[in-house]
Symmetry: C2
Subunit: 370 residues, 2 copies
């Protein structure tokens, strides 16, 4: 349903448009010239109009509007720029319109989400991927169940979003106790809740963990909403929260093949100040090389964050069963596991990653067909 | 060559260490306990010590030092934490030590770098990759020449760094004029200097462009150092520079398969305030949906940046010849090409990408063997 244009008029250096629901918004002259649909390549839809081909003071010689479109004529150009009401409304940049387009995550503690949203492997493969992906976007954690006990099932599920994000651990990785491990995940040790690969400039956005066997004693999984933990900290210890937002920490993973390092804060916010990304992995935090005077306060904040991540108010305990694939936002959801006894039975998870921007792209493409 | 320890003493909540060249530095008690080598997994080198297993007030009961090592004893622990002088010096976090570890790029204009550093394909394949990678890190632009005229040569060169970064355009991409293009690069049109894929959360770090044919009229390449342009702007128009650092702009690429969007500023600085990343591609800049009041000033700043990118003081003209592979930091170097006439001859570049953090990792691994 599109809002119709009620009125359009020149107002200062902009065209003011009023829609039939009362929304008043405005578009600067240069913005309109820059976004003229005639300036887009007909096949690629990329802009071929050259922004430097007009002056800062470009201005219409005439405008006209009806319910469905705004037309703007420019000096020296025969054809007007014609903008549909639908496009103008979708791209309005007044404060209210910008705010309406924010998509906020649903934060959760252990009590709010006693069980993650579940979807069957067959359903997501056969046309019902969108509800699964929306749950992944909003809650950060989902379970795909009834997955076939094949080692390519996890890749099949991931391909519903995009090609795999390859890392130094390969395209797929096998989480089980191994001799000569290069990663603590590949031992039987306890793993405190963390986000994977914080030492990469862009840690993988979505992690898939397909449970192929979980017969060992121990080995329960733990998931916690890092955004919820950050929100708790913002409320109870604003100074610590600010430090974790503002202090890039060093992360590092190195083995015989690589030495991958990156500096980033524990908590990253987006342009609206909404939660964007959590990086938390004490095992891969390199020796802090931040401002000397700040170091004690940063340690206190980091310890407070780590303590919240283990708090039963936030940590969801879950024993993955064969056939289940945990699919979660690796830059939001902290995951861990209890130690297990590899002599008591087999434990084998198969994992892979895809990127977060590809996930949002897949949602947009699937929504086109709605 | 390692600096020896001259003296170590407890000073406030830290151990103060003096090295034989006079450097005085200090390490907080908790920092020392957190980084005790006994707390690292013997195989993975990841930290298994639990930061929450000690209190904020952890303190040594005794320390001792000789030229080569510092030993620290903790209450209730039999064995001391032993830190080598070399490791302590490499991880010192006083202001001077932090500053010494910064690696700054060499900024260049057209006059400073009349020709990019060149390396032969055979040399980089046969053990001389490090000088090439250091030139890539420092200048952002290199040429590999005498590459074989095979379509897998570009992949071979990229694999000296890491596996390819796959994008929505595939693992490799063919830059030539195509029917039904989904990207202006795949036409014969003029391409203003830009960085690729600014619409991705993390644009590819290194771009490889292997010239297989360049017999058409036109089609000259242009390269410009985006860091140099940003430095120019910082000096001549500090307000515009600040706006381009602080204003995330919307970028978008969409076709039948994807709708990939991301917000990021034109200029990104790292934790030291040094240049980190440039995103500039007017063709993929989505309709600006930033604060209404700021929009005119942001347009002015963006136009000023675009004008500098075309300025002959900064733009290096280069006609790629068959057998040459341009290898450049895609998040620093703006690249473009003049329009060409596809009826006048063949023009065919083959491209691929690898990530920047993998590039720095490869440099570190190669430097181990020095």
């Amino acid at each position: 349903m599109t809002n119709a244009i009620t009125k359009a008029e020149i107002n200062g250096g902009a065209v003011r448009v009023i829609f039939d629901d009362g929304r008043e918004t405005a578009y600067h002259f240069l913005w309109l010239r820059d976004n003229c649909p005639r300036g887009l390549h007909p096949q690629t839809r990329e802009r071929v109009f050259d922004l430097l081909s007009v002056g800062d003071d470009v201005a219409p010689i005439r405008i006209a509007a009806d319910a469905n479109a705004l037309s703007v004529w420019w000096d020296g150009e025969d054809a007007p720029s014609v903008f549909s009401a639908e496009w103008l409304r979708a791209n309005a940049y007044d404060g209210q319109s910008l705010s309406e387009r924010r998509i906020l995550p649903t934060l959760w503690g252990a009590k709010d989400l006693p069980a993650p949203p579940r979807f069957s492997f067959a359903a997501v493969k056969n046309g019902a991927a969108l509800p699964w992906l929306l749950a992944l976007r909003d809650y950060g954690l989902t379970i795909i169940d009834e997955a076939p006990p094949r080692t390519d099932a996890v890749r099949e599920a991931a391909h519903l979003i995009a090609p795999l994000r390859r890392t130094n651990f390969g395209e797929e990785f096998e989480v089980r106790s191994k001799p000569d491990p290069n990663n603590v995940a590949y031992t039987a040790l306890d793993l405190q809740a963390h986000t994977d690969l914080p030492n990469r400039e862009m840690p993988p956005g979505v992690q898939f963990l397909h449970c192929l066997a979980n017969g060992a004693t121990g080995g329960e999984s733990v998931f916690a909403d890092g955004f919820r933990i950050a929100a708790e900290m913002r409320e109870t210890d604003a100074a610590a929260f600010a430090l974790l937002c503002d202090t890039p920490l060093p992360f590092r993973f190195h083995d015989g093949e690589c030495d991958l390092r990156f500096y980033a804060p524990t908590i990253a916010l987006d342009r609206h100040g909404d939660f964007f990304q959590i990086r938390h992995h004490l095992a891969l935090t390199a020796p802090l090389d931040i401002d000397f005077a700040k170091t004690p306060a940063v340690y206190r904040a980091l310890r407070a964050f780590a303590a919240l991540a283990r708090d039963s108010r936030f940590a969801l305990d879950l024993r993955l069963a064969p056939g289940e694939i945990a699919v979660f936002n690796n830059r939001r959801i902290l995951h861990g596991r209890r130690a297990f006894d590899p002599s008591s039975g087999a434990r084998h998870l198969q994992g892979c990653y895809v990127d977060w921007d590809e996930t949002l792209s897949r949602i947009r493409v699937l929504e086109r067909g709605e």
